[in-house]
């Protein structure tokens, strides 16, 4: 399969952006200025990038507590993200949400939930609205293996299949829920792969392979957009960092250093860059330039966020209700 250069470059750009933003957050996290529990998605960048490469600006996504990557891949505003982490009025959620509650309606992102599984029915309901409004948009739901423990996933898939909703269920299996390994919570393959393909096409892909994610989600988005119903994709990946906070805050004893290092060698960005260089789809110089561009955008975002004003205390009760 051949891919347009533009697509390959976008996949690389998005993954690099997500990685660099995470690293930048991490490097400043111990300054204690971002007083919000960050859940980094280092090592999982290919999932958000590969899926969102198919989405249009007005398509919807639903996201979760580990949602920086989804937000950025969907085109969420970087400055508003960083300002939110700093608890600023100019943050995407005006400093009311923090890292786990991002929003950018202009990019089709209507709010991420930190209740594991909480975004699944919401994304399904968005799919129902799309269908009722006879639109050609799609709703993509990102959730983790922890959310696949929750009954609401079954309920939502049942309804999406029943009503043939334009929903793409993306199970981002990073193998851990806090410190609980998936083997303590589920037996082998997710039970949703056992459904007949006519009801729910499903696929397991290497979540660290951007093109594998891209290929599978392309079919799913096409199916949803043409009114044929939902799909289910499991992207097998790995959470390189701990559950929350930066590298130095991860606890030891629940996984081996060797396991982390093995997965570290399967970095989705390094392997993708190598492949592009080998196929002469990009040059070292182009990568270097992209890196510079991203770093400068990140620097701008942090400068913007740090000098921005926090919310005024007298606005404490604002927005409980829409007037």
């Amino acid at each position: 399969m051949t891919y347009p250069k533009k697509v390959l470059h976008k996949l690389l750009f998005d993954m690099m952006l997500i990685r660099r933003v995470q690293l930048a957050i991490e490097s400043r996290y111990m300054d204690n200025e971002m007083k919000t529990p960050v859940h980094l998605c280092i090592g999982q960048e290919a999932v958000a990038a590969g899926v969102c490469a198919h989405l249009k600006k007005n398509d919807y996504i639903s996201s979760n507590h580990r949602g920086h990557g989804h937000y950025l891949a969907k085109g969420g505003n970087l400055k508003a993200l960083i300002a939110e982490l700093y608890g600023r009025e100019t943050g995407c959620s005006k400093g009311r949400g923090g890292s786990m509650h991002l929003v950018d309606t202009g990019a089709g992102h209507y709010g991420s939930s930190s209740i594991v599984g909480g975004g699944i029915p919401i994304g399904t309901g968005i799919g129902m609205a799309i269908k009722m409004q006879r639109q050609k948009r799609v709703s993509t739901v990102f959730f983790g293996d922890g959310a696949a423990d929750e009954g609401v996933l079954y309920e939502s898939i049942n309804f999406a299949v029943l009503k043939k909703l334009p929903v793409i269920f993306i199970l981002e299996n990073n193998q851990y829920s806090v410190c609980s390994h998936i083997s303590a919570r589920q037996t082998g393959n997710s039970i949703f792969h056992a459904l007949p393909a006519k009801m729910l096409p499903s696929k397991i892909v290497d979540g660290n392979d951007a093109l594998a994610v891209y290929d599978a989600s392309g079919k799913a988005v096409e199916r949803a957009r043409t009114g044929k119903g939902p799909s289910f994709i499991e992207c097998r990946t790995y959470r390189i960092r701990g559950h929350a906070g930066c590298a130095s805050q991860d606890v030891s004893g629940y996984r081996t250093a060797e396991e982390i290092s093995q997965w570290g060698k399967r970095c989705p960005i390094t392997s993708f860059q190598k492949m592009l260089l080998k196929k002469k789809m990009i040059t070292e110089n182009e990568i270097h330039k992209t890196e510079k561009k991203i770093n400068s955008r990140i620097q701008d975002a942090f400068d913007y966020a740090r000098q921005a004003a926090p919310p005024a205390p007298e606005t404490l009760s604002a927005n409980l209700f829409r007037e």
């Binding site: 209507y110 309901g125 009722m132 309920e155 209700f321």
Partner: protein
């Protein structure tokens, strides 16, 4: 009066209503149905869902046959999945629709708490107002015929605790329609908790569209001696109790808050300022419930008005029993309110 189902209907008492010269009498379920019909005629975004909304019962008549007029895409049966379906309503609302989600009992709302409390109630605030969730959730408290502990819970106290949810409890046919239309018009998640006993009444209802303002209570009967704040069907009981004691020279003022959140604090405080005595009657539990909250409000902001301790009438802190005689012992009603009125003025 008999309805089409040959059920005996009782006309509402002749207390104060806001229907002007209206003489049109219809049943309580028809009043809600009329609100839904008008809302759906006027706004393509409005739809109705819930288990059994299109079945022959039609949610005690409130949604009966609406699918025939509006089609099954706008009035549809759902899987029981209360948790997911509530989230699906939230999602549909975020994407520009106006869901009205029916449950025949509040007990089942406990299966939807995550989406109601963690999501719907938080979405506007948590995202700094970037998004909002205009949805209506409706449920009807059961009572009698041995409904027992899982089919008769009056959970308004639980929901009154949650910032970000509006909570309505109508007591008249007029308000059932007007509050439903107000709830559908509202840009936020609104929970309507109704009561099966209300469904046995008929009352005055204008035929056109109108709304009852959310957050405004009403004085159903003026009186100088004691204020009675009563909720849902207990408004009728309180009114009858007030008529009962009127011959003994006790004039009770009956307040129907209609919406528990936001609560019309001014109306309650102004009445207590006048009477100096307060009885609160609710069909939910006593501890941490509606009577506790309203009692605390008056103790905090109206203590100087009080001539006697506040009296609270509520269900005992027990699951509802099934046996008829135990049921009778469990519920508060007209007699309890009457006794309290006599006692408090003594």
């Amino acid at each position: 009066m008999l309805t089409s189902e040959n059920k005996i209907m009782i006309h509402e008492p002749d207390f104060f209503r806001e229907c002007g010269a209206c003489k049109r009498v219809i049943g309580y379920p028809e009043a809600i149905r009329e609100a839904l019909q008008l809302a759906m005629q006027n706004d393509r975004r409005v739809f109705i869902m819930g288990q059994g909304v299109d079945d022959p019962y039609g949610m005690f008549g409130a949604t009966k046959d609406l699918h025939r007029e509006f089609g099954r895409e706008r009035v549809f049966d759902t899987p029981l999945s209360e948790g997911a379906l509530t989230g699906i309503s939230v999602g549909a609302a975020l994407a520009g629709m106006r869901p009205v989600y029916f449950h025949n009992r509040p007990d089942f709302l406990l299966l939807a708490m995550d989406q109601l409390v963690n999501h719907a109630a938080k979405w506007s605030y948590m995202f700094g107002g970037a998004v909002h969730v205009p949805m209506v959730v409706w449920a009807c408290i059961g009572r009698g015929w041995g409904s027992a502990a899982q089919h008769s819970q009056a959970l308004q106290g639980l929901f009154m605790h949650i910032p970000g949810l509006k909570l309505l409890m109508p007591s008249t046919c007029h308000d059932a329609k007007g509050l439903m239309l107000a709830a559908i018009d509202d840009e936020n998640p609104v929970l309507i908790i109704d009561h099966r006993l209300n469904f046995n009444t008929t009352g005055l209802v204008p035929s056109g569209p109108y709304t009852v303002p959310i957050g405004r209570g009403i004085v159903r009967r003026p009186g100088r001696d004691v204020t009675v704040v009563a909720v849902s069907h207990l408004v009728t009981d309180a009114f009858h109790a007030a008529q009962d004691v009127s011959s003994q020279g006790i004039e009770a003022e009956i307040i129907d808050p209609r919406t528990l959140r936001p609560l019309d604090e001014e109306l309650i405080l102004a009445s207590v300022a006048k009477t100096g005595r307060l009885i609160i009657a609710d069909c939910g539990w006593k501890t941490g419930g509606v009577t506790a909250e309203i009692g605390a409000l008056v103790a905090e902001k109206g203590f100087a008005y009080l001539k006697a301790p506040i009296m609270r009438l509520a269900s005992p802190d027990l699951p509802t029993p099934a046996a008829g005689n135990l049921e009778e012992a469990f519920y508060v009603g007209r007699n309890d309110i009457r006794k309290a009125m006599i006692e408090i003025v003594r």
